[in-house]
């Protein structure tokens, strides 16, 4: 479905169902150089099990009009504006990697509008190594290959995603190249990495969270190491119901372990 936010067209995948704002809503927020398609199995499942689903393409990513937004704070405001455009008063926010930072910041800015917060493959702060940052600037295709390799724990994850016969390394590389090529005005990969690297408000944002919060980790995640999760968990308000779950996967856990992530999300979203 298409919405308009700030005068620009926004694409949201609604899980194969007509979006119904009256239903409990789940918003899926993708990570750097990804789009809605990293969520489609999960989004489709929730859409067919009583939820209204918005798996968005961030500005300048996938099918949503650009330009890409500058930082996590601006993207958080944009997500809240997207809820307005969809006629949704409150929703659960589910974010992966860079998307988890956007979900966290949006929750802190409008705690009354977020019913549940789920952060997958997250780290606060989410510093990007100098090598990756420089490579993404100089040679984004090489950086895509590096990140793609770091993001997968196995060359044989089953049952694959979105279905049997998909080669996860190849499909994720193709997706990142496609999203990168969609932006001619700027180097989107370097831009997205910069957003992750610069975000300094994560711990303050965590303290403002009021809804139940979940952190979902890939046990073999090389991009956002599970050890870094302790920081964000301890920063969450002591009054907040917090759940930490681990799945046997790398950073791209939605594609490497789709069933385990679905089970974890069903638990996290109640």
């Amino acid at each position: 479905m298409e919405l308009t936010v700030g005068g620009r067209k926004v694409y949201c995948y609604s899980g194969g169902k007509t979006f119904d704002a009256a239903l409990p809503c789940v918003v899926f927020i993708h990570g750097a150089l990804n789009d809605h398609s990293v969520w489609t199995l999960l989004a489709r499942w929730f859409a067919h099990h009583g939820r209204a689903v918005l798996a968005l393409d961030q500005p300048g990513h996938g099918r949503s009009e650009g330009p890409p937004l500058a930082d996590v704070e601006t993207l958080a405001d944009w997500v809240l504006a997207l809820l307005d455009a969809a006629g949704v008063r409150s929703a659960a926010l589910v974010g992966h990697s860079m998307g988890s930072l956007i979900a966290l910041e949006a929750t802190s800015r409008a705690p009354q509008r977020v019913e549940r917060l789920v952060m997958l493959g997250t780290a606060v702060p989410m510093k990007v190594s100098d090598v990756l940052m420089q490579t993404s600037q100089r040679d984004p295709l090489k950086a895509i290959d590096m990140v793609n390799t770091f993001s997968h724990a196995s060359t044989a994850s089953k049952p694959s995603y979105p279905g049997p016969g998909s080669w996860l390394h190849g499909s994720n590389r193709a997706l990142m190249r496609r999203v990168q090529a969609g932006q001619r005005e700027l180097n989107l990969f370097h831009h997205d990495f910069g957003i992750c690297d610069r975000y300094a408000g994560g711990l303050d944002a965590a303290a403002k969270v009021r809804c139940p919060a979940s952190v979902l980790l890939g046990a073999r995640d090389q991009m956002t190491n599970p050890k870094q999760t302790a920081t964000i968990v301890s920063a969450l308000n002591a009054q907040v119901q917090t759940q930490v779950q681990t799945v046997d996967a790398g950073h791209m856990m939605m594609s490497e372990a789709p069933d385990a992530v679905l089970a974890a999300l069903r638990s996290a979203l109640g």
Binding site: H36, S37, A156, S160, G165, S166, G170, A174
Partner: protein, 438 residues
Amino acid sequence: MPGASDPGFDTLALHAGAAPDPATGARAVPIHLSTSFVFENSEHAASLFNMERSGHVYSRISNPTNAVLEERVAALEGGAGAIATASGQAALHLAIATLAGAGSHIVSSSALYGGSHNLLHYTLARFGIETTFVKPGDIDDWRCAIRPNTKLLFGETLGNPGLDVLDIPTVAAIAHEHHLPLLVDSTFTTPWLMKPFDHGADLVFHSATKFLSGHGTVIGGVLVDSGAFDWNAAHAQSGRFAELAAPYEGFHGMVFSEESTVGAFLLRARREGLRDFGACMSPHTAWLILQGIETLPLRMARHVENTRKVVEFLAGQPMVASIGYPELETHPSHALAKRLLPRGCGSVFSFDLRGTREQGKAFIEALKIFSHLANVGDCRSLVIHPASTTHFRMDDTALAQAGITPGTIRLSIGLEEADDLIDDLKRALKVAEKAGSR
């Protein structure tokens, strides 16, 4: 298998898509000879059918052993995914049937395997899909043949029978200018010699019967998608490919390009093409092809090494009028082969024997190591004499029009000792020479 870069080709040939079996610890890929797979419960069943979960339902659509093969070939090609099919012909049909229907048009190289030519020229025409054939090296013809109803461009990496090298970068650029994909038959080259996706092709298929299997035991095909072609953008630009970018009533109104940005083609090919046409691969066949792929790098290197020695030998024989191998400077595709096929031009080629049709027959019958049969890409060396077999009904004039002479011999060089192959050919050449003097 985390690291700073993806594993190399030889490692992927052994590992991609397969890990020790979690149920039994089996290190080799198990053969899942099961038509169907048990659902955990009714909800699980419904979610599999509705593509809310990934998994196996029925082996016509997908199978765990086949999935390993599919992932492995996709990994070796640098693609996003693949579908194993009953044969190479089934893979070609699946690719076309996913994108085209009655009223569609294809632009194809004229240098094709006879089975592919038959499918395009005769059979698909009966179903309303028309094909314009162009000489693979005539770039203007490719461009001029494109029509508003064209759905894809198609060629072979090494075209039949003369091994014309397809200028994939140029033909792909023409295709993309018109928002069309380029489909390539990569059977003769395998990803060890060339990865067509690196040069701009969008879809690749193999007759896995040949080098991928490598042992002349099974019939199979694999269709691979690069994931690079933007079906949604092409639909917006040209109105084509509603099959992938508009709701499909045959699958709950699904828009495949929304479900997967880079896997839409394979989703529809599997969910419609395998489901409805049913040209699936047996898991046992998939396993045998996987066995072959594990040694593909070793075999291809030896195939090429032996072929170069045989070509060099034949080039010095007075009974040999000409050799059609692109590594030779006399071949019209020589420059292109140097650029696109630096590792070699495969092990299937033809040469022209001086003399009559009878001398050709005498040559074939004198061979002891080369097997006289209709196949290529076996670990054993193979030979066929088109004038007395596949084209025996044609007179010499008709043969000439097909690019074949009475003395044309096609060889598929295997993995034997090269010296033994050369001795075999040497003996047969003498017999053929004597047959001409009788």
